[in-house]
Assembly symmetry: C2
Homo-oligomer: 349 residues x 2
């Protein structure tokens, strides 16, 4: 597509209309359309092909201090994605290049040269992985899982790792990399289908269905972690975190990556009542934010693309088609409906 | 005293009679007396001079898994202390040697050669510090503070450290060592007298009186930690931990040393509601148990004895006289009455 054609396009967008209390509803969003402008000097226009829908998005909708500023009312909702350069006045990006970047929930985004870095724009190579894999194992969730596991978790061969949200985007990366590093890997996921998939397809040693009834996690840990838990990668918080804390070993590492059970809480967050297990066990609980590892993403991508190629790693994406379904699609994350990395496909490749 | 004389002695003891619910009461203890036997081959008999009363003792009174087994019903209460060898058939310890060891709450203890290590028996040198300093800065609390601070806290010059229980045995060590290492040091303690002492005598930069009214800790941290908190050494848990969590900096280290506010809780422990601050700030919360550092105690003792000698470090002990006052003395720890390291003096030096 030539530069001239860009100005004929209409950009459909979702903007944050109000801050949600509890689960986001349709009313928290406003749909808007905009004309697409030509790129500025050194800039580009990108077409969104697919967006990553992530639990962290819920946090960005809240006011207040966090690791990045909240999305402002009236702003296009923040979202990372993959897409194609359709117009370029940049010496570094050519029309047709495939890139990963902060696109926002919209069909097109125009970025100035000074915005490339802030939006994390990098070229992606579809020979290393498919477009949706670039949002999953090779994208932010994959980087989060990889660096959380390797840098904070520091897995040693023979150790037992437990990961919650095991069938999710981060969880599948964590569990598979930990298996490759020689750990015994036990997932926690909701429902038999996810648990079966995690064990049969991804090769986890076991997976505990937290929906199987009261005490399921406690009993499952007893059964499947007979030597206790050395590493717990926590995506969910709440009661599951407390239950795992009761089973950790000496010098255990707990990676706090998220707390999806708490993100829509309208009352105070439930703190881990069993945190003194950290004392008894000289254990560590540490938070990670993936952006801190940006200068090493390429190394993790290389390593994991190798695992995808040689079959030691698989990935699963749950693809919802059509930008118009964004509000409902996002909710799948919070009711546990998504099965695999949740992706919103905005246009065909 | 010669070996022969040992058998003329009567040993007064406190034994655990029942497990407390909430604060320990007189009924949880039974007083007993025993004759003192001659030492066995390679063994010694020690006379207790002073015992360390520590918050951790409350934990040892509970049933259930912890970092060391609970004290059994009917057993002499566990306590570390300092005392004198009064009879010896050991080649390593002579009558008159001063030692630090696990004495238990009793006037005399007879230890076999195979029990020396388990009871942590080591000679102490009163030229390095007084008998009570050997229970304070040079003893377990000092070791706890030193290694928690240095190994987990990893203080860097210019960082801000906050320590709760600032006037207590661990707190005074932590704050003074952190000052020597170049940190800005802010204590949290109960009451004006303790706060004044910590600032004027120990040289802390500030001390927050948590009893000064609702919001005192929050406001105090705002005022005295204008650059946020890099290291928090937590002896108390509960609300204070939550309040500090809301003020931590990126890559902060939180040392979980104790949770005195929770030890007598009869309902579930309050978990830190603000634990997700660990995530936002890529911070770490880590528990320590002093015994892990036993092979390096001598190095910390040497370092801190030097500070005591050159006046850079002070210590304060709160001495209760008479083994018969053990039950009441212990309670001073939990109502915040003790001012400085709580010591039970059992006999004159």
């Amino acid at each position: 597509m030539s530069d001239t054609a860009v100005s004929t396009l209409t950009n459909h967008q979702f903007r944050l209309a109000s801050r949600p209390v509890g689960l986001p509803t349709r009313d928290n969003w406003s749909a808007s359309t905009e004309a697409v402008a030509e790129p500025g000097d050194g800039g580009v226009v990108l077409q969104t092909l697919a967006l990553s829908l992530d639990p962290a998005m819920r946090g960005w909708m809240n006011e207040g201090r966090s690791y990045i500023p909240p999305v402002g009312i009236g702003e296009v909702m923040r979202a990372s994605g993959v897409g194609r350069v359709i117009a370029s006045k940049s010496a570094h990006f050519a029309v047709g290049d495939m890139v990963s970047a902060g696109f926002g929930v919209q069909q097109y985004v125009r970025l100035g040269a000074d915005e490339f870095k802030r939006n994390g724009m990098v070229k992606i190579d579809l020979r290393m992985g498919s477009l949706t894999q670039w949002l999953n194992v090779l994208g932010m969730p994959g980087m989060t899982g990889y660096f959380g596991l390797m840098d904070v978790g520091q897995p040693q061969s023979g150790e037992t790792l437990v990961v919650s949200g095991a069938a999710g985007a981060v969880g599948q990366t964590v569990g598979q990399v930990a298996k490759i590093k020689g750990c015994r890997v036990v997932g926690i996921a909701g429902g038999k289908a996810k648990c079966d998939w995690v064990v049969k397809e991804l090769g986890f040693d076991a997976c505990i269905d937290y929906k199987a009834g009261p005490g399921a996690v406690r009993e499952g840990l007893k059964e499947h972690c007979p030597k206790g838990v050395d590493i717990y990668f926590d995506n969910v918080g709440g009661e599951i975190l407390d239950t795992v804390l009761a089973r950790i070993n000496r010098k255990a590492r707990i990676i706090i990556c998220g707390a999806i059970s708490q993100y829509n809480a309208t009352t105070a967050i439930a703190g881990p009542k069993n945190y003194l297990s950290l004392l008894v066990n000289r254990a560590r609980m540490e938070g990670i934010v993936v952006f801190d590892y940006a200068d090493r993403y390429h190394l993790a991508v290389l390593e994991m693309a190798g695992y995808l190629k040689d079959g030691r790693m698989k990935s699963k994406e749950d693809v919802v088609e059509g930008i118009e379904h964004f509000p409902e699609a996002l909710l799948k994350l919070f009711n546990g409906e998504n099965f695999g990395k949740l992706v919103l496909q905005v246009a065909d490749q």
